[in-house]
Assembly symmetry: C2
Homo-oligomer: 206 residues x 2
């Protein structure tokens, strides 16, 4: 058995303020550029100027690091709380606006797109994203709705949002890609409102 | 200058019935498994048991082959014609049903998913998909609608459909992934109906 290569000690140490965030930032950047499969613990550690062992210390493994990197750059619970403070018939448009406010700034859009791309091409990444969505977004929406079909409603909302993100930020298909936030709130808000509180039984005869 | 490797002649020749389809089938399978970047003309030719030169003869280059492989496995013009035969207020649900009928069978879903995955991770593939969508789907819908905001309406419909495909077939998030076609027609049909013919100006005050 050969000795493991002696890791070089970086400028930061465990517990030092900001180290964890620096690792996460490097991880997001690596997952964004390379995708889940090609991003490495070693490369991410180098990007954060820390020892690879420190990355493993904080996050256990690449999966753990990706899961932590997903907790970005918006807090769904905060967004959902703000939306729930609205009148029931305003929640749909408010949710569209909140969704867009999370995606519009480049500094949040870039890591969100990285997550989406990784999930599309790697089953492990997809599993992590699926778990994240179910735990942090669809779960809370389902609980808030308290309807028999609340889970379906939550995932229908998810379908409209992920499709809007795909068309606007990934495929950049016009004119949806350059529509204003107000236009999209007006156009998509009632869709989300109906998925939240409307009748889902119409149209079945088609 | 070294001589190019002598291609081995396969069992099929130009013009032989089915050769072009065999190449396209092999290309779809390669793009599905490997993505656009890692799929090769050589590997696709091998999968179709033809000479690589024959692939280039038919399709010019990898981009040309991918473009041709995109013309699968449903004909948007036929689907749109069927939907346009419906009464105006039934078109939304009919379009949802037509979309799902294209995606539900594994033999059509597999190549459609391959296209989606390639587009997510390769800019050339995305360009091809974008062109295809604009030329074959959003363009005809826009023309049929003859409204000032017809282009936005067409792409809003696209956003709901691509999101539904992502949730149901890519991420497999429940209960949307296992909902019946009838349930989805009932739930999503009115969304598409509104994007086709409804008022898109509501909800702007949120």
């Amino acid at each position: 058995m050969t000795a493991a290569p002696q890791p070089q000690r970086g400028g930061r140490r465990p517990g030092e303020s900001g180290t964890r965030e620096a690792i996460l930032a490097a991880a997001r950047s690596a997952f964004a550029e390379l995708g889940y499969d090609r991003a490495t613990i070693r490369g991410i550690a180098a990007g954060a100027a820390v020892d690879p062992a420190l990355v493993l210390h904080y996050f256990g493994c690449k999966d753990g690091l990706f899961g932590a990197a997903l907790e970005i750059p918006v807090e769904p619970a905060e967004i959902l709380a703000r939306v729930r403070a609205r009148a029931p018939d305003e929640m749909g448009p408010a949710l569209v606006r909140a969704f867009l406010s999370a995606w519009e700034p480049a500094e949040t859009r870039t890591p969100l797109l990285a997550t989406l791309r990784s999930a599309m091409t790697n089953e492990t990444a997809m599993t992590l994203v699926r778990e994240y969505l179910e735990r942090r977004i669809f779960g809370p929406i389902t609980q808030a709705l308290q309807a028999d079909d609340a889970q379906l409603r939550a995932t229908l909302i998810g379908s409209q949002f992920i499709g809007m993100a795909m068309m606007r930020y990934v495929a950049c298909i016009q004119p949806l890609a350059s529509a204003s936030v107000d236009e999209l709130v007006a156009a998509v808000g009632p869709t989300v409102q109906r998925y939240l509180t409307g009748d889902l039984g119409e149209g079945a005869g088609a």
